[in-house]
């Protein structure tokens, strides 16, 4: 999706790069725009909030095929485990309103085989009219064998779901959660759902053997046309991504660059993004996810940041000034 930058942004980015590298010989880092928007509750106000947020990012989706990829994990509607259906429907309506030719909702859960039952239990059938007509189970989708563009993991060519591969814009819509293997799970980890369980099983264990962090970075590189909307209205802290505790934050985090969005999500959780291995890999080092190389719009980080509880194994991820 094309996006324009002001001269001031370019100058700021160039100066930041010069400071970072100490020589000014490398290409300037184009700052990624990431918005933090307050959204205090899952209610009807979300529709207007999401519409305005997407307008700010000047997404051009007229005539394009948009695929929304929420995070559906478990049959626990009372918990904060799954992306809330009202947020997904708000994005669905906003993209339709922006002229998208088609908007679909697609997910391939990692543990539970019955994706539609899971979506039903999570409230999607109740919230999204004719949900079955717009939903694609990525675990059972047609597939294409893909040679990974970048290769951090030991994965060979991988079969991926055609609905995700064919999207003009793939919108990753995760929950803001801690994760008991990686520290944090946000928009990039959410792409594990495009790896079809119908081919690789439940769980998608090939990804674990090939290196979880590395596979996240590999998958990120396969999809250049992404947008991310993180559901941080109520996140999950502690022993996430399944057995953690609800954590009300009251924000949405969004942007074109999933690594920058996830780094911002980590900072909101007071987790140091430079210590998250997949973020370092995907951003080609760390410069791209440095706070000074992200152009923050909307609320300030300081205004919304709230420390997420971490299990003992991940206390070392805590931002030092927390």
């Amino acid at each position: 999706m094309p996006r324009t930058f002001t001269r001031r942004e370019w100058l700021a980015a160039s100066a930041g790069t010069a400071l970072l590298t100490g020589c000014g010989q490398e290409r300037p880092i184009v700052p990624s725009i990431v918005s933090i928007v307050r959204a205090p509750a899952y209610d009807q106000r979300l529709y207007e909030t999401v519409r305005r947020m997407l307008e700010e990012h000047r997404l051009e989706v007229r005539g394009r095929n948009v695929v929304l990829k929420p995070n559906l994990v478990e049959f626990e509607p009372e918990s904060s485990i799954n992306t809330h259906p009202l947020l997904v429907h708000a994005a669905f309506e906003a993209f339709r309103g922006m002229g998208a030719a088609s908007v679909r909702i697609a997910e391939g859960p990692g543990h539970r085989r019955n994706a539609l039952d899971l979506a039903d239990a999570a409230g999607y059938f109740h919230t999204v009219p004719r949900f079955e007509d717009v939903f694609v189970d990525l675990n059972l989708d047609d597939v294409t064998r893909v040679h990974l563009a970048r290769q951090f993991s030991s994965l060979g060519p991988l079969h991926l779901a055609n609905t995700a591969l064919g999207a003009d814009l793939l919108v990753s819509m995760p929950k803001m959660k801690t994760h008991h293997w990686m520290g944090a799970t946000l928009s990039m980890k959410n792409l594990f759902g495009v790896v079809p369980g119908g081919i690789y099983g439940w769980p998608k264990n090939v990804l674990h053997w090939a290196g979880i962090q590395e596979c996240i970075a590999d998958l990120h590189a396969v999809f250049p046309r992404q947008f991310a909307i993180v559901d941080g209205i109520v996140g999950m802290e502690g022993n996430g991504p399944i057995q953690g505790t609800p954590k009300p934050v009251g924000v949405l985090v969004a942007g074109h660059d999933p690594a920058a969005v996830d780094a911002t999500g980590c900072r909101i959780m007071r987790i140091e993004p430079l210590k998250i291995e997949y973020l370092r890999l995907a951003s080609g080092g760390e410069s791209h996810i440095l706070e000074r190389n992200i152009r923050q719009i909307g609320e300030s980080l300081r205004a919304v940041a709230t420390p997420f509880e971490l299990i003992p194994e991940f206390q070392w991820l805590r931002m030092e000034d927390s």
Binding site: R113, N114, L116, D142, G198, Y200, G201
Partner: protein, 285 residues
Amino acid sequence: MTIGMLADKQNRDGGWPYVRGSSWIEPTAYAVLALLAAGETERARRGLRWILAIERPDGGWPPRAGIDQSTWVTALVALVPPEELGASAHARAIAWLLGTAGRESTLTFRLREWLLGNAGLSEQEPPGWPWVPDTAAWVGPTSLAVLALEKEYRRRPLPAIGERIDSGRRFLLSRVCQEGGWNYGSVRVLGYACRAYPETTGMALTALRGVRSPATDRGLAVAQRFLGECRSADALNWLRLGLRAHGQLPVGYCHPLEVAERTLSDTSLGLLVAEAEKGRDFLLA
């Protein structure tokens, strides 16, 4: 859905999709079994021709055409009676299952773990089955492999088959959740107990038919609870099979009418379960 409606969903190539579109082995194998149980042999044989056409050179089956790897679905193909599938193809499916185990059971992996100081060479979990080769064993594929081998063992009681059935069952008994029952196969993650799932609890109990132990008793109690709460057709099918395998399906149990069948696998398995409850068990007998 009736057997006639299931037959109408057959693709031109002879296979069945999960919902619509391309044929996959899993819904096709269940559909073939359901049609055979109902005496609809012509449609079933068209399905079998498609299944046989995509057999891989190693004697296993991929999940669908165009995938160059044999996987867990080989167990589903092996559930089809040899007289219908063809004796040689069936024997190759059984051989593939006997030659497949979770990566953690391989000597290479155990040697590596020993060299890294993570485990002793003699410490080995009973081998189960993976979803795809070269990955770990899990509850779902292990349960299905045990069912296929058990069916074969009744025809050919070979020690090699009996040993793998036994090891597969011991694998399942080693993966019981703290609360009882089974999930995909992780009992604990970083010291935290993982919860049981209805569908995998039903699958494991089905594979543990005839096994009495405190673990199966706890699993049966969990399955009874799930049977009352769960609204997933897939899960309810497996719970019914699992409870029935232990003579614990409540007398007069009625499948809830409001439960939606989401895939043709749900439909076929539901038809097979209904037949089994009438005394014609084409899935397991």
